[in-house]
Protein backbone atom coordinates (compact mmCIF):
# COMPACT_ATOMS: atom_id res chain seq x y z
CA UNK A 1 0.00 0.00 0.00
CA UNK A 2 2.35 2.73 -1.16
CA UNK A 3 1.47 6.31 -2.10
CA UNK A 4 1.10 6.75 -5.87
CA UNK A 5 2.23 9.94 -7.57
CA UNK A 6 1.70 10.87 -11.21
CA UNK A 7 4.81 12.59 -12.51
CA UNK A 8 4.03 14.78 -15.47
CA UNK A 9 6.47 15.18 -18.32
CA UNK A 10 6.50 17.10 -21.57
CA UNK A 11 8.36 15.74 -24.57
CA UNK A 12 9.95 13.20 -22.25
CA UNK A 13 11.26 15.73 -19.73
CA UNK A 14 9.81 16.04 -16.24
CA UNK A 15 8.33 19.34 -15.17
CA UNK A 16 9.34 20.91 -11.88
CA UNK A 17 5.84 20.27 -10.55
CA UNK A 18 6.49 16.54 -10.98
CA UNK A 19 9.40 16.75 -8.52
CA UNK A 20 7.30 18.84 -6.16
CA UNK A 21 4.56 16.19 -6.32
CA UNK A 22 7.08 13.43 -5.51
CA UNK A 23 8.44 15.46 -2.58
CA UNK A 24 4.91 15.82 -1.27
CA UNK A 25 4.03 12.15 -1.81
CA UNK A 26 7.15 11.24 0.18
CA UNK A 27 5.83 13.44 3.02
CA UNK A 28 2.56 11.49 3.03
CA UNK A 29 4.33 8.15 2.72
CA UNK A 30 6.28 9.02 5.86
CA UNK A 31 3.04 9.72 7.72
CA UNK A 32 1.92 6.17 6.89
CA UNK A 33 5.39 4.55 7.12
CA UNK A 34 5.19 3.44 3.55
CA UNK A 35 6.91 4.15 0.22
CA UNK A 36 6.33 6.22 -2.90
CA UNK A 37 5.54 4.73 -6.30
CA UNK A 38 5.63 7.06 -9.29
CA UNK A 39 3.85 6.49 -12.59
CA UNK A 40 5.22 8.10 -15.74
CA UNK A 41 3.81 8.28 -19.25
CA UNK A 42 6.23 8.58 -22.16
CA UNK A 43 8.94 10.03 -19.91
CA UNK A 44 12.64 9.78 -20.69
CA UNK A 45 15.16 9.44 -17.90
CA UNK A 46 13.34 8.60 -14.66
CA UNK A 47 16.24 8.23 -12.20
CA UNK A 48 15.87 11.83 -11.08
CA UNK A 49 12.59 10.91 -9.38
CA UNK A 50 14.64 8.96 -6.85
CA UNK A 51 16.25 12.17 -5.73
CA UNK A 52 12.93 13.28 -4.21
CA UNK A 53 12.02 9.97 -2.62
CA UNK A 54 10.31 7.68 -5.15
CA UNK A 55 11.43 4.08 -4.70
CA UNK A 56 9.43 2.43 -7.46
CA UNK A 57 8.67 3.77 -10.89
CA UNK A 58 6.00 2.36 -13.15
CA UNK A 59 6.84 3.41 -16.69
CA UNK A 60 4.23 3.49 -19.41
CA UNK A 61 5.13 4.13 -23.05
CA UNK A 62 2.54 4.35 -25.76
CA UNK A 63 3.03 6.00 -29.12
CA UNK A 64 -0.70 6.70 -29.42
CA UNK A 65 -0.25 9.18 -26.58
CA UNK A 66 2.00 11.63 -28.31
CA UNK A 67 -0.54 14.34 -27.47
CA UNK A 68 -2.07 14.56 -24.03
CA UNK A 69 -5.31 12.61 -23.81
CA UNK A 70 -7.15 13.05 -20.51
CA UNK A 71 -9.30 9.91 -20.79
CA UNK A 72 -6.35 7.71 -21.65
CA UNK A 73 -4.10 9.18 -18.99
CA UNK A 74 -6.80 8.79 -16.35
CA UNK A 75 -7.29 5.19 -17.39
CA UNK A 76 -3.56 4.46 -17.15
CA UNK A 77 -3.26 5.98 -13.70
CA UNK A 78 -6.40 4.16 -12.53
CA UNK A 79 -5.02 0.83 -13.75
CA UNK A 80 -1.71 1.51 -12.02
CA UNK A 81 -3.51 2.44 -8.80
CA UNK A 82 -5.49 -0.80 -8.86
CA UNK A 83 -2.44 -2.90 -9.68
CA UNK A 84 -0.44 -1.29 -6.86
CA UNK A 85 -3.43 -1.34 -4.49
CA UNK A 86 -2.92 2.27 -3.39
CA UNK A 87 -5.16 4.43 -1.23
CA UNK A 88 -3.58 7.82 -1.81
CA UNK A 89 -2.79 9.33 -5.21
CA UNK A 90 -0.98 12.64 -5.61
CA UNK A 91 -1.19 14.71 -8.78
CA UNK A 92 -0.20 18.30 -9.47
CA UNK A 93 -2.37 21.26 -10.46
CA UNK A 94 -1.30 21.77 -14.05
CA UNK A 95 -4.06 22.30 -16.60
CA UNK A 96 -3.59 18.72 -17.83
CA UNK A 97 -3.81 17.24 -14.34
CA UNK A 98 -6.94 19.25 -13.63
CA UNK A 99 -8.43 18.01 -16.89
CA UNK A 100 -7.71 14.40 -16.02
CA UNK A 101 -8.39 14.29 -12.26
CA UNK A 102 -12.21 14.16 -12.28
CA UNK A 103 -12.12 11.32 -14.83
CA UNK A 104 -9.68 9.44 -12.63
CA UNK A 105 -11.85 10.05 -9.56
CA UNK A 106 -14.84 8.41 -11.26
CA UNK A 107 -12.71 5.52 -12.55
CA UNK A 108 -11.56 4.76 -9.01
CA UNK A 109 -14.68 5.87 -7.11
CA UNK A 110 -12.28 8.12 -5.26
CA UNK A 111 -12.69 11.42 -3.47
CA UNK A 112 -10.77 14.30 -5.03
CA UNK A 113 -9.68 17.59 -3.51
CA UNK A 114 -7.79 20.07 -5.72
CA UNK A 115 -5.47 22.97 -4.76
CA UNK A 116 -4.22 21.30 -1.57
CA UNK A 117 -1.61 23.50 0.11
CA UNK A 118 0.12 21.30 2.69
CA UNK A 119 0.47 17.76 4.05
CA UNK A 120 -2.81 16.28 5.36
CA UNK A 121 -3.79 17.92 8.65
CA UNK A 122 -4.92 14.52 9.95
CA UNK A 123 -4.88 10.96 8.61
CA UNK A 124 -7.91 9.64 10.50
CA UNK A 125 -10.16 11.11 9.37
CA UNK A 126 -8.10 11.91 6.30
CA UNK A 127 -8.36 15.68 6.16
CA UNK A 128 -6.65 18.22 3.88
CA UNK A 129 -6.39 21.99 3.61
CA UNK A 130 -6.92 23.63 0.24
CA UNK A 131 -7.39 26.99 -1.47
CA UNK A 132 -10.98 27.99 -2.22
CA UNK A 133 -12.83 31.17 -3.21
CA UNK A 134 -10.08 32.18 -5.65
CA UNK A 135 -7.40 32.05 -2.94
CA UNK A 136 -9.44 34.28 -0.64
CA UNK A 137 -9.88 31.45 1.89
CA UNK A 138 -8.86 27.89 2.82
CA UNK A 139 -11.18 24.92 3.30
CA UNK A 140 -10.65 21.79 5.39
CA UNK A 141 -12.07 18.76 3.64
CA UNK A 142 -12.53 15.19 4.85
CA UNK A 143 -12.52 12.25 2.49
CA UNK A 144 -15.18 9.60 2.92
CA UNK A 145 -13.69 7.19 0.38
CA UNK A 146 -11.17 4.37 0.43
CA UNK A 147 -9.15 5.92 -2.39
CA UNK A 148 -8.16 9.56 -2.07
CA UNK A 149 -6.83 11.82 -4.83
CA UNK A 150 -4.95 14.93 -3.80
CA UNK A 151 -4.34 17.74 -6.28
CA UNK A 152 -1.32 19.59 -4.95
CA UNK A 153 -1.33 23.39 -5.38
CA UNK A 154 1.70 24.62 -7.26
CA UNK A 155 4.64 26.20 -5.48
CA UNK A 156 3.39 25.67 -1.93
CA UNK A 157 5.15 22.52 -0.74
CA UNK A 158 8.40 23.06 -2.62
CA UNK A 159 11.11 20.59 -3.58
CA UNK A 160 12.50 18.37 -0.84
CA UNK A 161 15.43 16.12 -1.62
CA UNK A 162 15.34 12.62 -0.20
CA UNK A 163 17.72 10.48 -2.23
CA UNK A 164 16.62 6.84 -2.62
CA UNK A 165 17.49 4.11 -5.07
CA UNK A 166 14.75 3.30 -7.54
CA UNK A 167 13.32 0.18 -9.12
CA UNK A 168 11.71 0.66 -12.47
CA UNK A 169 9.08 -1.48 -14.09
CA UNK A 170 7.48 -1.31 -17.53
CA UNK A 171 3.70 -1.50 -17.52
CA UNK A 172 1.43 -2.12 -20.49
CA UNK A 173 -2.05 -0.90 -19.56
CA UNK A 174 -5.08 -1.74 -21.64
CA UNK A 175 -6.68 1.17 -23.45
CA UNK A 176 -10.22 0.72 -24.71
CA UNK A 177 -11.35 2.59 -27.83
CA UNK A 178 -13.65 4.91 -25.90
CA UNK A 179 -10.72 6.77 -24.38
CA UNK A 180 -9.97 8.01 -27.87
CA UNK A 181 -13.35 9.73 -28.32
CA UNK A 182 -11.55 13.03 -28.80
CA UNK A 183 -8.73 13.41 -31.26
CA UNK A 184 -6.13 16.13 -31.55
CA UNK A 185 -6.06 17.44 -35.11
CA UNK A 186 -3.34 20.03 -34.67
CA UNK A 187 -1.35 21.89 -32.06
CA UNK A 188 -0.41 25.54 -32.38
CA UNK A 189 2.29 26.76 -30.07
CA UNK A 190 2.23 30.53 -29.93
CA UNK A 191 5.47 30.81 -28.05
CA UNK A 192 8.65 28.90 -27.36
CA UNK A 193 9.29 31.14 -24.43
CA UNK A 194 8.56 30.18 -20.84
CA UNK A 195 4.81 29.97 -20.22
CA UNK A 196 2.85 31.66 -17.42
CA UNK A 197 2.10 28.25 -15.92
CA UNK A 198 5.73 27.16 -15.75
CA UNK A 199 7.47 30.47 -15.09
CA UNK A 200 9.27 31.21 -11.84
CA UNK A 201 8.89 34.92 -12.55
CA UNK A 202 6.00 36.68 -14.28
CA UNK A 203 6.14 40.31 -15.45
CA UNK A 204 2.69 41.78 -15.97
CA UNK A 205 1.49 45.04 -17.50
CA UNK A 206 -1.80 46.92 -17.08
CA UNK A 207 -3.72 49.80 -18.54
CA UNK A 208 -1.25 52.19 -16.92
CA UNK A 209 1.12 51.43 -19.81
CA UNK A 210 -1.15 53.46 -22.11
CA UNK A 211 -0.86 51.40 -25.29
CA UNK A 212 0.54 48.30 -26.99
CA UNK A 213 3.46 50.29 -28.41
CA UNK A 214 4.85 50.58 -24.87
CA UNK A 215 5.28 46.87 -24.28
CA UNK A 216 8.85 46.86 -25.55
CA UNK A 217 10.17 47.60 -22.08
CA UNK A 218 7.96 44.90 -20.54
CA UNK A 219 9.37 42.40 -23.02
CA UNK A 220 12.89 43.50 -22.28
CA UNK A 221 12.35 43.27 -18.52
CA UNK A 222 10.88 39.78 -18.91
CA UNK A 223 13.76 38.74 -21.12
CA UNK A 224 16.30 40.01 -18.57
CA UNK A 225 14.63 38.01 -15.80
CA UNK A 226 13.81 34.93 -17.86
CA UNK A 227 10.18 35.68 -17.03
CA UNK A 228 6.85 35.07 -18.73
CA UNK A 229 4.73 38.05 -19.80
CA UNK A 230 1.19 38.59 -18.53
CA UNK A 231 -1.39 41.39 -18.55
CA UNK A 232 -4.58 42.58 -16.90
CA UNK A 233 -7.96 41.88 -18.44
CA UNK A 234 -8.67 45.26 -20.07
CA UNK A 235 -5.30 45.08 -21.80
CA UNK A 236 -6.28 41.85 -23.55
CA UNK A 237 -9.89 43.00 -24.06
CA UNK A 238 -8.60 46.04 -25.96
CA UNK A 239 -6.37 43.83 -28.06
CA UNK A 240 -3.10 45.35 -26.83
CA UNK A 241 -1.92 41.86 -25.90
CA UNK A 242 -3.13 38.32 -26.74
CA UNK A 243 -5.85 36.73 -24.58
CA UNK A 244 -3.44 34.00 -23.57
CA UNK A 245 -1.57 36.57 -21.46
CA UNK A 246 -4.64 37.65 -19.47
CA UNK A 247 -4.27 36.65 -15.83
CA UNK A 248 -6.73 36.86 -12.96
CA UNK A 249 -9.95 35.31 -11.84
CA UNK A 250 -11.29 34.95 -15.37
CA UNK A 251 -7.87 34.53 -16.96
CA UNK A 252 -4.93 32.29 -16.21
CA UNK A 253 -3.96 31.68 -12.61
CA UNK A 254 -0.46 32.70 -11.56
CA UNK A 255 1.46 31.04 -8.75
CA UNK A 256 5.02 32.02 -9.55
CA UNK A 257 7.80 32.85 -7.11
CA UNK A 258 7.85 36.48 -8.19
CA UNK A 259 5.07 38.52 -9.79
CA UNK A 260 5.86 42.06 -10.94
CA UNK A 261 2.79 44.21 -11.65
CA UNK A 262 3.40 47.36 -13.65
CA UNK A 263 0.62 49.92 -14.13
CA UNK A 264 -2.00 47.55 -12.70
CA UNK A 265 -4.42 48.92 -10.12
CA UNK A 266 -4.97 45.63 -8.28
CA UNK A 267 -8.72 45.11 -8.72
CA UNK A 268 -10.06 42.25 -6.64
CA UNK A 269 -10.60 40.05 -9.71
CA UNK A 270 -7.02 40.58 -10.78
CA UNK A 271 -5.65 39.82 -7.32
CA UNK A 272 -7.77 36.68 -7.02
CA UNK A 273 -5.82 35.12 -9.85
CA UNK A 274 -2.33 36.21 -8.87
CA UNK A 275 -2.16 36.30 -5.09
CA UNK A 276 -0.99 32.69 -4.92
CA UNK A 277 2.36 34.06 -6.10
CA UNK A 278 4.93 34.11 -3.35
CA UNK A 279 6.42 37.57 -3.75
CA UNK A 280 4.58 40.45 -5.39
CA UNK A 281 6.16 43.70 -6.55
CA UNK A 282 4.09 46.69 -7.65
CA UNK A 283 5.15 49.64 -9.74
CA UNK A 284 2.37 52.22 -9.88
CA UNK A 285 2.21 56.01 -9.99
CA UNK A 286 -0.77 56.15 -7.64
CA UNK A 287 0.16 55.51 -3.99
CA UNK A 288 -3.52 54.74 -3.33
CA UNK A 289 -3.63 51.89 -5.87
CA UNK A 290 -5.19 48.88 -4.09
CA UNK A 291 -2.39 46.59 -5.28
CA UNK A 292 -0.06 48.15 -2.70
CA UNK A 293 -2.17 46.52 0.01
CA UNK A 294 -1.59 43.09 -1.48
CA UNK A 295 2.08 43.47 -2.41
CA UNK A 296 5.36 42.72 -0.65
CA UNK A 297 7.45 45.43 -2.29
CA UNK A 298 6.47 48.53 -4.16
CA UNK A 299 7.75 51.59 -5.92
CA UNK A 300 5.44 54.58 -6.27
CA UNK A 301 6.32 56.27 -9.52
CA UNK A 302 6.04 56.50 -13.28
CA UNK A 303 6.60 53.15 -14.96
CA UNK A 304 8.13 54.89 -17.97
CA UNK A 305 10.95 56.14 -15.78
CA UNK A 306 11.31 53.19 -13.40
CA UNK A 307 11.16 50.21 -15.73
CA UNK A 308 14.07 51.27 -18.01
CA UNK A 309 16.20 51.92 -14.90
CA UNK A 310 15.20 48.58 -13.45
CA UNK A 311 16.22 46.83 -16.66
CA UNK A 312 19.59 48.59 -16.69
CA UNK A 313 20.36 47.79 -13.03
CA UNK A 314 19.14 44.21 -13.36
CA UNK A 315 21.49 43.69 -16.29
CA UNK A 316 24.37 44.95 -14.16
CA UNK A 317 23.23 42.72 -11.29
CA UNK A 318 23.03 39.68 -13.58
CA UNK A 319 26.48 40.39 -14.97
CA UNK A 320 27.94 40.56 -11.46
CA UNK A 321 26.15 37.48 -10.17
CA UNK A 322 26.57 35.34 -13.27
Amino acid sequence: MSVLVYTESEQGTFKKIAFEAVSYAKGIADMFSTTVTAVTINAGDVVELGKYGATKIVQVSNEKLENFNAQAYASIIAQTAKKEDVQVIVISSSANCKFMAPLLAIDLEAGFVPNVTQLPVSTSPFKVKSNVYSNKAFAFTEYMTHTKIIGLAKNTFGLKENETSVNTEEFLPELIDEVFNTEVVSVEKTTDKVTIADAEIVVSGGRGLKGPENWGMIEELAETLGAAIACSKPVSDMGWRPHSEHVGQTGKPVSSNLYIAIGISGAIQHLAGVNASKVKVVINSDPEAPFFKAADYGIVGDAFEIVPKLIEKLKEFKAQNA
Binding site: K98, V132, T182, S186, Q249, T250, N321
Partner: protein, 246 residues
Protein backbone atom coordinates in the same frame (compact mmCIF):
# COMPACT_ATOMS: atom_id res chain seq x y z
CA UNK B 1 -29.53 19.72 -31.19
CA UNK B 2 -30.36 19.82 -27.48
CA UNK B 3 -28.03 21.87 -25.32
CA UNK B 4 -27.82 21.90 -21.54
CA UNK B 5 -25.85 24.68 -19.86
CA UNK B 6 -24.87 23.89 -16.26
CA UNK B 7 -24.95 27.05 -14.23
CA UNK B 8 -23.32 27.48 -10.92
CA UNK B 9 -24.58 30.24 -8.64
CA UNK B 10 -21.58 31.98 -7.10
CA UNK B 11 -20.72 35.09 -5.08
CA UNK B 12 -20.04 38.12 -7.28
CA UNK B 13 -16.32 38.48 -8.02
CA UNK B 14 -16.03 41.56 -5.78
CA UNK B 15 -17.50 39.80 -2.71
CA UNK B 16 -15.74 39.83 0.61
CA UNK B 17 -15.42 36.27 1.81
CA UNK B 18 -16.49 35.64 5.41
CA UNK B 19 -17.67 32.62 7.37
CA UNK B 20 -20.17 32.04 10.18
CA UNK B 21 -21.11 29.24 12.57
CA UNK B 22 -17.63 28.81 13.91
CA UNK B 23 -16.09 29.04 10.43
CA UNK B 24 -18.12 26.19 8.98
CA UNK B 25 -20.51 28.13 6.73
CA UNK B 26 -20.09 30.75 4.05
CA UNK B 27 -21.54 34.05 5.20
CA UNK B 28 -24.05 35.15 2.55
CA UNK B 29 -24.74 38.40 4.36
CA UNK B 30 -24.56 41.28 1.89
CA UNK B 31 -23.22 39.01 -0.86
CA UNK B 32 -24.56 39.32 -4.40
CA UNK B 33 -24.82 36.05 -6.32
CA UNK B 34 -24.27 35.81 -10.05
CA UNK B 35 -23.96 33.32 -12.89
CA UNK B 36 -20.45 31.87 -12.62
CA UNK B 37 -18.37 33.90 -15.15
CA UNK B 38 -17.16 30.80 -17.01
CA UNK B 39 -20.76 29.61 -17.37
CA UNK B 40 -21.77 33.01 -18.73
CA UNK B 41 -19.32 32.57 -21.60
CA UNK B 42 -20.80 29.11 -22.21
CA UNK B 43 -24.38 30.37 -22.08
CA UNK B 44 -23.54 33.07 -24.61
CA UNK B 45 -22.01 30.52 -26.98
CA UNK B 46 -25.10 28.34 -26.51
CA UNK B 47 -27.28 31.31 -27.54
CA UNK B 48 -25.37 31.42 -30.80
CA UNK B 49 -26.22 27.76 -31.50
CA UNK B 50 -29.84 28.48 -30.62
CA UNK B 51 -30.12 31.53 -32.85
CA UNK B 52 -28.02 30.34 -35.80
CA UNK B 53 -28.70 26.60 -35.76
CA UNK B 54 -32.09 26.30 -34.06
CA UNK B 55 -30.77 24.40 -31.05
CA UNK B 56 -32.95 24.11 -27.98
CA UNK B 57 -31.35 25.45 -24.85
CA UNK B 58 -31.96 24.39 -21.27
CA UNK B 59 -30.15 25.53 -18.14
CA UNK B 60 -29.70 23.62 -14.91
CA UNK B 61 -28.50 24.24 -11.41
CA UNK B 62 -28.17 21.95 -8.42
CA UNK B 63 -29.04 24.11 -5.45
CA UNK B 64 -31.60 25.48 -3.04
CA UNK B 65 -34.44 27.87 -3.82
CA UNK B 66 -32.07 30.85 -3.48
CA UNK B 67 -30.46 29.96 -6.83
CA UNK B 68 -33.69 30.52 -8.79
CA UNK B 69 -32.91 34.17 -9.44
CA UNK B 70 -29.69 33.10 -11.16
CA UNK B 71 -31.55 30.61 -13.36
CA UNK B 72 -34.19 33.25 -14.10
CA UNK B 73 -31.44 35.51 -15.35
CA UNK B 74 -30.31 32.76 -17.73
CA UNK B 75 -33.89 32.48 -18.99
CA UNK B 76 -34.00 36.26 -19.44
CA UNK B 77 -30.80 36.08 -21.48
CA UNK B 78 -32.53 33.57 -23.73
CA UNK B 79 -32.53 29.96 -22.46
CA UNK B 80 -35.79 28.12 -23.24
CA UNK B 81 -36.29 26.14 -20.05
CA UNK B 82 -34.71 25.93 -16.60
CA UNK B 83 -34.28 23.00 -14.25
CA UNK B 84 -33.36 23.23 -10.60
CA UNK B 85 -32.38 20.08 -8.76
CA UNK B 86 -33.58 20.85 -5.28
CA UNK B 87 -30.63 20.06 -3.07
CA UNK B 88 -27.63 21.60 -1.41
CA UNK B 89 -24.55 20.98 -3.58
CA UNK B 90 -22.61 18.82 -1.11
CA UNK B 91 -19.53 18.11 -3.21
CA UNK B 92 -18.51 17.97 -6.86
CA UNK B 93 -19.32 14.28 -7.16
CA UNK B 94 -22.80 14.75 -5.73
CA UNK B 95 -23.48 17.58 -8.19
CA UNK B 96 -22.12 15.59 -11.13
CA UNK B 97 -24.39 12.65 -10.24
CA UNK B 98 -27.45 14.92 -10.16
CA UNK B 99 -26.49 16.52 -13.46
CA UNK B 100 -25.84 13.11 -15.03
CA UNK B 101 -29.40 12.16 -14.17
CA UNK B 102 -30.73 15.33 -15.80
CA UNK B 103 -28.61 14.66 -18.90
CA UNK B 104 -29.90 11.08 -19.22
CA UNK B 105 -33.52 12.09 -18.82
CA UNK B 106 -33.25 14.94 -21.29
CA UNK B 107 -30.89 13.19 -23.77
CA UNK B 108 -28.85 16.30 -24.45
CA UNK B 109 -26.25 16.30 -27.23
CA UNK B 110 -24.08 19.08 -25.88
CA UNK B 111 -23.50 19.88 -22.24
CA UNK B 112 -21.77 23.18 -21.58
CA UNK B 113 -20.12 23.70 -18.20
CA UNK B 114 -17.55 26.22 -17.06
CA UNK B 115 -13.92 25.28 -16.54
CA UNK B 116 -14.35 25.98 -12.85
CA UNK B 117 -16.71 27.73 -10.53
CA UNK B 118 -15.17 30.61 -8.65
CA UNK B 119 -16.44 29.51 -5.24
CA UNK B 120 -14.84 26.16 -4.57
CA UNK B 121 -12.65 26.21 -7.69
CA UNK B 122 -13.20 22.47 -7.88
CA UNK B 123 -12.73 22.10 -11.61
CA UNK B 124 -14.28 18.68 -11.24
CA UNK B 125 -17.99 18.70 -12.08
CA UNK B 126 -17.63 18.76 -15.90
CA UNK B 127 -15.12 15.90 -16.07
CA UNK B 128 -17.09 13.76 -13.65
CA UNK B 129 -20.29 14.46 -15.56
CA UNK B 130 -18.62 13.46 -18.84
CA UNK B 131 -17.37 10.21 -17.35
CA UNK B 132 -20.70 9.39 -15.67
CA UNK B 133 -22.62 9.93 -18.91
CA UNK B 134 -20.06 8.34 -21.22
CA UNK B 135 -19.61 11.59 -23.15
CA UNK B 136 -16.50 13.02 -24.78
CA UNK B 137 -14.89 15.77 -22.77
CA UNK B 138 -12.90 18.88 -23.68
CA UNK B 139 -11.70 21.10 -20.85
CA UNK B 140 -10.29 24.66 -21.08
CA UNK B 141 -12.44 25.05 -24.17
CA UNK B 142 -11.94 28.40 -25.96
CA UNK B 143 -13.69 27.64 -29.24
CA UNK B 144 -16.52 25.37 -30.32
CA UNK B 145 -18.12 24.67 -33.70
CA UNK B 146 -20.71 21.99 -34.35
CA UNK B 147 -21.88 21.25 -37.86
CA UNK B 148 -24.09 18.28 -38.71
CA UNK B 149 -22.96 16.42 -35.60
CA UNK B 150 -19.28 17.12 -36.31
CA UNK B 151 -17.50 18.85 -33.46
CA UNK B 152 -14.42 21.01 -33.66
CA UNK B 153 -13.20 22.29 -30.33
CA UNK B 154 -10.24 24.44 -29.41
CA UNK B 155 -8.50 23.81 -26.13
CA UNK B 156 -6.11 26.23 -24.51
CA UNK B 157 -2.84 24.57 -23.56
CA UNK B 158 0.32 25.97 -21.97
CA UNK B 159 1.77 28.38 -24.51
CA UNK B 160 -0.71 27.69 -27.27
CA UNK B 161 -3.82 25.85 -28.36
CA UNK B 162 -4.95 22.49 -29.60
CA UNK B 163 -7.62 21.82 -32.22
CA UNK B 164 -9.67 18.70 -31.48
CA UNK B 165 -12.30 16.58 -33.14
CA UNK B 166 -14.82 14.99 -30.82
CA UNK B 167 -18.02 12.94 -30.87
CA UNK B 168 -21.40 13.90 -29.45
CA UNK B 169 -22.56 13.73 -26.76
CA UNK B 170 -19.93 16.14 -25.58
CA UNK B 171 -19.25 17.93 -22.31
CA UNK B 172 -17.06 21.01 -22.34
CA UNK B 173 -15.43 23.01 -19.56
CA UNK B 174 -15.61 26.46 -21.14
CA UNK B 175 -13.85 29.70 -20.38
CA UNK B 176 -13.25 33.16 -21.83
CA UNK B 177 -12.44 32.86 -25.51
CA UNK B 178 -15.49 30.71 -26.18
CA UNK B 179 -17.04 34.11 -26.89
CA UNK B 180 -15.62 37.58 -26.59
CA UNK B 181 -16.27 39.71 -23.56
CA UNK B 182 -18.24 42.13 -25.74
CA UNK B 183 -20.61 39.32 -26.79
CA UNK B 184 -21.89 38.84 -23.25
CA UNK B 185 -25.53 39.84 -22.93
CA UNK B 186 -27.35 41.79 -20.29
CA UNK B 187 -31.00 40.74 -20.03
CA UNK B 188 -33.33 43.36 -21.49
CA UNK B 189 -36.87 44.18 -20.39
CA UNK B 190 -38.44 41.95 -23.02
CA UNK B 191 -36.24 39.02 -22.01
CA UNK B 192 -37.12 39.52 -18.38
CA UNK B 193 -40.86 39.62 -19.14
CA UNK B 194 -40.62 36.49 -21.31
CA UNK B 195 -38.60 34.61 -18.73
CA UNK B 196 -41.55 34.69 -16.34
CA UNK B 197 -43.65 32.45 -18.56
CA UNK B 198 -40.90 30.01 -19.54
CA UNK B 199 -41.00 26.45 -18.13
CA UNK B 200 -39.18 26.16 -14.81
CA UNK B 201 -38.87 22.60 -13.49
CA UNK B 202 -37.94 21.71 -9.95
CA UNK B 203 -36.71 18.14 -9.57
CA UNK B 204 -35.94 16.22 -6.45
CA UNK B 205 -32.38 14.85 -6.23
CA UNK B 206 -31.49 11.22 -6.90
CA UNK B 207 -30.04 9.39 -3.95
CA UNK B 208 -26.26 9.66 -3.87
CA UNK B 209 -23.67 9.91 -1.18
CA UNK B 210 -20.95 12.52 -1.46
CA UNK B 211 -17.29 11.52 -1.46
CA UNK B 212 -15.84 14.47 0.37
CA UNK B 213 -17.11 16.93 2.91
CA UNK B 214 -15.92 20.41 3.82
CA UNK B 215 -15.73 20.61 7.60
CA UNK B 216 -14.36 24.11 8.09
CA UNK B 217 -12.89 27.25 6.58
CA UNK B 218 -10.07 29.56 7.43
CA UNK B 219 -9.12 33.00 6.19
CA UNK B 220 -5.51 33.69 5.24
CA UNK B 221 -3.44 35.42 7.90
CA UNK B 222 -3.29 39.19 7.55
CA UNK B 223 -0.28 40.09 5.45
CA UNK B 224 2.56 42.36 6.40
CA UNK B 225 2.45 45.88 5.05
CA UNK B 226 4.13 46.50 1.71
CA UNK B 227 7.74 47.69 1.82
CA UNK B 228 8.01 50.81 -0.29
CA UNK B 229 11.38 51.69 -1.76
CA UNK B 230 12.28 54.70 -3.83
CA UNK B 231 14.93 53.36 -6.14
CA UNK B 232 15.46 50.26 -8.21
CA UNK B 233 18.80 49.35 -6.60
CA UNK B 234 17.07 48.87 -3.24
CA UNK B 235 14.38 46.81 -4.88
CA UNK B 236 16.92 44.51 -6.52
CA UNK B 237 18.75 44.19 -3.20
CA UNK B 238 15.59 43.18 -1.35
CA UNK B 239 14.52 40.71 -4.02
CA UNK B 240 17.95 39.12 -3.94
CA UNK B 241 18.86 39.18 -0.23
CA UNK B 242 15.54 39.16 1.58
CA UNK B 243 12.97 37.52 -0.69
CA UNK B 244 15.60 35.40 -2.46
CA UNK B 245 13.64 35.28 -5.71
CA UNK B 246 16.30 36.60 -8.07
Amino acid sequence: MKILVCISHVPDTTSKINFTDNDTKFDTNGVQFVINPNDEFGLTRAMWFKEKQGASLHVVNVGGIETESTLRKALAIGADEAIRVNSVAIDGYFVAKQLANVVKEGSYDLIICGRESIDFNGEMVPGMLAKLTGSSFVNNCIGLEIDGGKVTAIREIDGGKEILKANLPLVIGGQKGLVQESDLRIPNMRGIMQSRSKPFHVKEPVETSAKTQIVGFEKPAAREAVKLVDNVEDLIGLLHNEAKVI
